[in-house]
């Protein structure tokens, strides 16, 4: 990692931190559980790192570790999004609940 890449990575980190603070502070307590499972699914993006590790054939150890990492992250991505969707479907307004 050259100095330039490092600096730009740090910029991304700091800006993402500010943005995260702004965005997350606006989430009402009502949705804190779906928020947690959603951010969980989103941080399953470490899948992209795992995929390269599993498929690059660096050495056997890396392939095995990468494979396990792919399984773990995919479980998070799929499970996290499915559960978040399921939860959000339950939050209904009064009129809609009455119709059921």
């Amino acid at each position: 990692m050259s100095a330039d890449t490092l600096i730009s990575a740090l910029y991304v980190f700091v800006l993402a931190a500010f943005l995260g603070y702004q965005v997350i502070s606006r989430v009402p307590p009502l949705l804190h559980t779906p928020l947690m499972s959603a951010t969980n699914a989103i941080s399953g993006i470490s899948l992209v790192g795992s995929i390269v590790t599993a498929g690059a054939r660096y050495n056997t150890v890396s392939t095995i570790l990468g494979f396990i990492a792919v399984v773990c992250s995919t479980t998070n991505v799929v499970g996290g999004f499915v559960i978040t969707d399921r939860m959000l479907k339950m939050f209904r307004r009064k009129e809609i609940v009455k119709k059921d």
Partner: protein, 459 residues
């Protein structure tokens, strides 16, 4: 060209994630936001599969397939009451993946990374990943009831933990200065795994909302560190968002209990030592009859339900909603007062009630509902204890002094549904139960509520 395509897919994913989380600010926009985030994830995965370094797809496809099946099964079948356990487990998975990628990178480079900064990022990734993995596994076991939920303490625990952490960080610093030692690196990883267990051991079930948020934060930061190691910006962005989300939630949870983070992590709250505090209560509890309560409810103008974790353990969410339905049919205004730490993870109680078809417009936060109690005819406390303990407000010597509570004692009448005469998670006596305004109704919450529904219908 290929590189541009990959980077573009990552950029798209980053935007989708941010907008997706922005949608979470309201239940109506949240669903669309999540679909957007799902689309972003798909783009990022497709982009990654184009990566030049990938030579074989066998393990990738196998991993994606197994992960999808497990994830889908979990997603579809896990009941809402078990959401805290599921979330703990997924923190463990996410953190474990980050740790494994880090270990693999270290092994591949033979311990000599490009520069010290990379080693620093990798060390963070692996340490945070490892301790979050075991910490979350233990949290899962506690929440699932596989091990006792009470704090596990022993003499000199904090000192031992600190010493272990110091040794781990010491090795980490040494590896940055003098890179290359495989055995030392794996010792560090092993110690981090052990430290995760030790960190969660002394924390009781009632403090789980804080721990869950904190582990959430660690798992996210581990992902962000992975982003630094792989120079992958979407990983940095997504990991940081996750890390900050968990961090903000843990602060909110601490504030809701008026405790500092240090106190939650090292205080072993709810263990025998703190339970003896609090003066003996004067007076006696007043037990009331089911029919009296039914009449009171039926002829009330406004009723506020205050559910606690006891409601979830009794599986009484649907019974509450039925009672609310018959009351609303009689023209009674029904609201729900939700304390931020009701349940085992942030916002848990809201999800449980939403599942039972309670419209979210009836769910009120602490600050919104407290001014309404003086005009409330009947406040019904179901399986909640510490969050309605007036000592937190009135008695400065109480261990929970200053904790924001739902001020049910200000309403005209209070009914407490309780299994038995036991104490809350903090082990404190609750003066609310001894107030003249309070009536106690003992028994299983679900059973009591179902009988109340019938009684109200006949009132």
């Amino acid at each position: 060209m290929r590189t541009y395509f990959i980077e573009f897919s990552y950029l798209l994913a980053s935007i989708a994630f941010i907008l997706g989380l922005k949608g979470m600010s309201h239940p109506e926009t949240a669903k669309r936001g999540m679909h957007l985030a799902e689309f972003g994830m798909l783009m990022a995965i497709i982009g990654t599969l184009m990566h030049l370094e990938i030579v074989t797809f066998t393990w990738i496809i196998a991993g994606l397939a197994i992960g999808s099946v497990v994830g889908l099964a979990m997603g579809v079948w896990v009941p809402m009451t078990a959401m805290p356990q599921r979330t703990a487990l997924s923190h463990a998975f996410g953190a474990f993946a980050a740790a494994l990628v880090g270990i693999s990178e270290f092994y591949r480079e033979g311990g000599h990374l490009q520069n010290r900064f990379m080693m620093g990022a990798l060390g963070f990734e692996v340490m945070l990943g490892a301790l979050t993995t075991t910490g979350s596994m233990l949290a899962f076991a506690k929440l699932q009831g596989l091990v006792r939920g009470t704090p596990m303490t022993y003499k000199g625990q904090n000192i031992f933990n600190m010493a272990l952490l110091a040794v781990t960080v010491g090795i980490f610093v040494y590896l940055i200065v003098v890179p290359g030692s495989m055995p030392l690196f794996f010792t560090m990883v092993a110690l981090a795994f052990v430290f995760g267990l030790l960190l969660v051991m002394p924390i009781g079930s009632a403090d789980m909302p804080v721990v869950m948020s904190l582990l959430n934060s660690y798992a996210g930061l581990a992902s962000a560190a992975t982003g630094f190691v792989l120079s992958n910006k979407v990983l940095i962005i997504a990991g940081t968002l996750d890390g900050f989300s968990g961090f903000i939630l843990s602060i909110l949870m601490c504030r809701a209990m008026n405790r500092s983070m240090t106190n939650v992590l090292f205080g072993a709250f709810g263990s025998a030592a703190t339970a003896t505090a609090g003066a003996e209560q004067q007076g006696s509890m007043r037990e009331v009859g089911l029919d009296d309560i039914a009449t009171q409810l039926a002829y009330a103008n406004k009723v506020v339900f205050v559910p606690g974790y006891g409601l979830a353990t009794a599986q009484a969410q649907h019974a509450v909603r039925e009672l609310a339905d018959v009351l609303e049919k009689r023209g009674v205004t029904v609201k729900y007062g939700i304390h931020p730490v009701a349940g085992r993870m942030p916002g848990h109680m809201n999800v449980l009630l939403a599942e039972a078809n309670v419209p979210y417009s009836s769910l009120y936060e602490l600050e919104q509902i407290n001014p309404e109690f003086p005009t409330t005819d009947v406040a019904v406390v179901i399986g909640a204890n510490d969050v309605v303990n007036p000592d937190a407000r009135d008695n400065p010597t109480s261990p929970i002094a200053g904790m924001p509570i739902l001020e049910v004692d200000r309403s005209k009448s209070v009914v407490v549904l309780k299994r038995g005469q036991g104490k809350g998670f903090s082990g404190l006596e609750n003066p609310l139960f001894f107030k003249p305004v309070t009536g106690m109704l003992y028994g299983d919450a679900k059973d009591t509520l179902t009988r109340l529904v019938q009684a109200v219908q006949h009132a």
